[in-house]
Amino acid sequence: MGNMPSILTPDFGLLFWMLVSFLVVFFLLAKYGFPAILGAVEERKNFIDESLKNAREANEKLAGVKAESEKLLREAREKQAQIIKEAMATRDSIVAEARDKAQAEGRQLLEEAKKQIDAEKDNALRDIRSQVADLSVQIAEKVIRRQLSGDGEQEKYIERMLEDVK
C-alpha cells in the first residue's frame, strides 16, 4: 500500500467530501431537477395520447356527420323529385280542369247565343208576322177599295201587290 499512487488508495478526506457533495447534488437533482423533466415528459405523453384519442373521435364524429349530411341530401333530393312530380300532376289537373271549364263555358255561350238567336228569330218572325198582318190588312183594305172599281183589275192589282209584298 505504501508506495502505491494516491489515486489507488482511498483517501478519507476525499471520500468524506465526495459523499457530502454527492448527497447534496443527489438531493437537489432528485427534488428539483429530474422529477420536473420526467413529469413534464410524462404529461406530454399523456397529452399527446389524449390528443390522438380526441382526433380519432373527432374523425369518427366527422364521418358520422358526413354520412348524416349525405342522408339528408338524399332525402332532400327525393323530396324535391316528389314535389316536382306533385307539381306536375297539379299542373296537369289544373290545365285539364281549365280546359273542361273553358269547354263548358264555350258550350254555355254557344247555347246562350243559340237561345238568343232563337229569340231574335222568334222576334223577327213575330215582327214579320205582325207586318205581314199589317200589310195583309192594308192590302186587304186596298183590295177592298179596288173592288169598288172592277173585278178584273182588282185581281191584277192584288197580284201585283202581292208581288210587291213578296
Binding site: P5, P10, F12, F26, L29
Partner: protein, 351 residues
C-alpha cells in the same frame, strides 16, 4: 469567410505547437530529467493546490486535526512560506503521496482538506445544477401555462439524454415494476459521472482534475450501488443467493454455490468500481503520455521533436475524441450495470 476560418485554425494549431515548446523551456529551467511517471501521477493525483500554469497555482484550504486534538484550517500556501515547509507542525510528505502529515507521528492525521478533487467535484456539481435546475424551471413554467410543447436546443438535448437513460437504461434494466424509486439516484449517478468525465478532459483550470480516475470516487459510487442492491433486494434475491436453484450436492454438505453467490455480491460493485476507474485512468494516462512524448523527443533532437510533435498532436486529437466517447460510454455502462444489479435484486416469481 472560409479563408479566415482556415487562417484562424492554422494559427490555433501553431499556438498548440508552441505551448509544449514553451513549457519545455520551463522544464529546462528546472534543469531535470523528465520523469514521465512522476509527471503523469502528479497530474492525476489529488493535491492541496490547483496548478494553473508555470509557477502559478491556486492555494486551497487545508483542514486537518492534530493528533492531540483541535482542528486547523489554513491555506496550503502556508507550507511554502516557511523554510522547512512546515506549518503548525504539519508538512506535506512528498515521499508519501504528497499528503499532509504531522511532525512526530507516522500515521495520517484526520484530513478533510478542500483538495483539488473536492473543488473539481464542486465545480461539476455546479455545472450539473446549472444544467438541470433552469431546465426544470422551464418545464414547470411551461406546464403551469398548460403548454406541452417539447423544448428546443440545449433543453431538448438534456431531455433527450435524460429520457434515453431513464427509459432505455433504467426502466429497461430494472423492470417496469420496480424502477421508479431508483430512477433519480441512477440518473444522478449517470450525469455526475458523465459531466465529471467530460470536465476531466478539459486541460485547463475549471476542469482537468482527474476525479472519476480516482479510486476513492468510484469506490463511493460502487458502494452506493452495493447498498441499493442489498438493502432493497427482495426475498427471492436472498433465496437465490443462499439457497439457489441448483442440485442439492452443490449446496448441502459444502455450501459451494452460496459461497460463490456471496462472493458475487462483492465482486459486482468491485467490478463497477474498477471498470470506471481503470477506463478514466487509462485515458488520462495515454493523453498525458502522448504529451510527455513531445518533451522527451525534443530533448533528443530538434528535428525528431518537431516531427514527433506533429504525430503526437494528431494522436492527441484522436485520443481526445476517443475519450469523449469513453466519457459517455463509462457513465452509461456504470448506470446500466447498476440498473441490471438492482433489477437482479428484484426477481419476479419464477414462471
Amino acid at each position: 469567410m472560409q479563408i479566415i476560418k482556415y487562417i484562424r485554425l492554422g494559427l490555433f494549431l501553431l499556438l498548440m505547437l508552441l505551448v509544449p515548446v514553451a513549457a519545455m523551456a520551463n522544464e529546462d529551467e528546472a534543469g531535470g530529467e523528465i520523469n514521465v511517471q512522476e509527471i503523469i501521477f502528479d497530474h492525476m493525483s489529488d493535491a492541496y493546490e490547483w496548478h494553473l500554469w508555470g509557477h502559478t497555482h491556486i492555494s486551497l484550504p487545508v483542514i486537518v486535526k492534530h493528533h492531540e486534538g483541535g482542528w486547523e484550517i489554513f491555506s496550503s500556501a502556508r507550507f511554502h512560506e516557511s523554510a522547512d515547509g512546515t506549518y503548525k507542525g504539519f508538512y506535506i510528505d512528498k515521499g508519501r503521496k504528497g499528503k499532509v502529515y504531522e511532525q512526530g507521528y507516522e500515521d495520517r492525521p484526520w484530513d478533510v482538506s478542500i483538495t483539488k478533487d473536492v473543488v473539481q467535484i464542486w465545480i461539476n456539481i455546479f455545472v450539473l445544477l446549472l444544467i438541470f435546475i433552469p431546465c426544470a424551471r422551464w418545464y414547470k413554467k411551461r406546464l403551469a401555462e398548460g403548454d406541452h410543447a417539447a423544448p428546443k436546443g440545449f433543453k431538448g438535448a438534456v431531455e433527450m439524454l435524460t429520457m434515453y437513460i431513464h427509459d432505455d437504461v433504467i426502466k429497461a434494466c430494472i423492470g417496469e415494476k420496480h424502477y421508479r424509486p431508483y430512477a433519480p439516484y441512477l440518473l444522478t449517478v449517470f450525469f455526475f459521472i458523465f459531466v465529471t468525465n467530460l470536465v476531466g478532459l478539459l486541460p485547463i483550470f475549471p476542469g482537468g482534475s482527474n476525479v472519476t480516475g480516482n479510486l476513492s470516487i468510484t469506490m463511493l459510487l460502487a458502494v452506493g450501488t452495493f447498498l441499493l442492491v442489498n438493502i432493497f433486494g427482495n426475498k427471492e434475491y436472498w433465496k437465490e443467493i443462499l439457497w439457489p436453484d441448483v442440485p442439492m450436492m452443490m449446496k448441502c454438505p459444502v455450501p459451494l454455490m452460496p459461497v460463490v453467490e456471496l462472493i458475487g455480491i462483492f465482486t459486482k460493485p468491485f467490478a463497477l468500481m474498477m471498470r470506471l476507474f481503470a477506463n478514466m485512468f487509462g485515458g488520462h494516462t495515454v493523453i498525458l503520455s502522448l504529451t510527455c512524448l513531445i518533451f522527451i523527443t525534443w530533448k533528443v533532437s530538434t528535428g525528431m521533436g518537431a516531427s514527433m510533435t506533429v504525430v503526437s498532436f494528431l494522436m492527441l486529437i484522436f485520443m481526445n475524441c476517443l475519450e469523449l466517447l469513453v466519457a459517455f460510454l463509462q457513465a452509461y455502462v456504470f448506470t446500466m450495470l447498476s440498473s441490471v444489479y438492482i433489477g437482479l435484486a428484484h426477481p419476479g416469481h419464477h414462471k
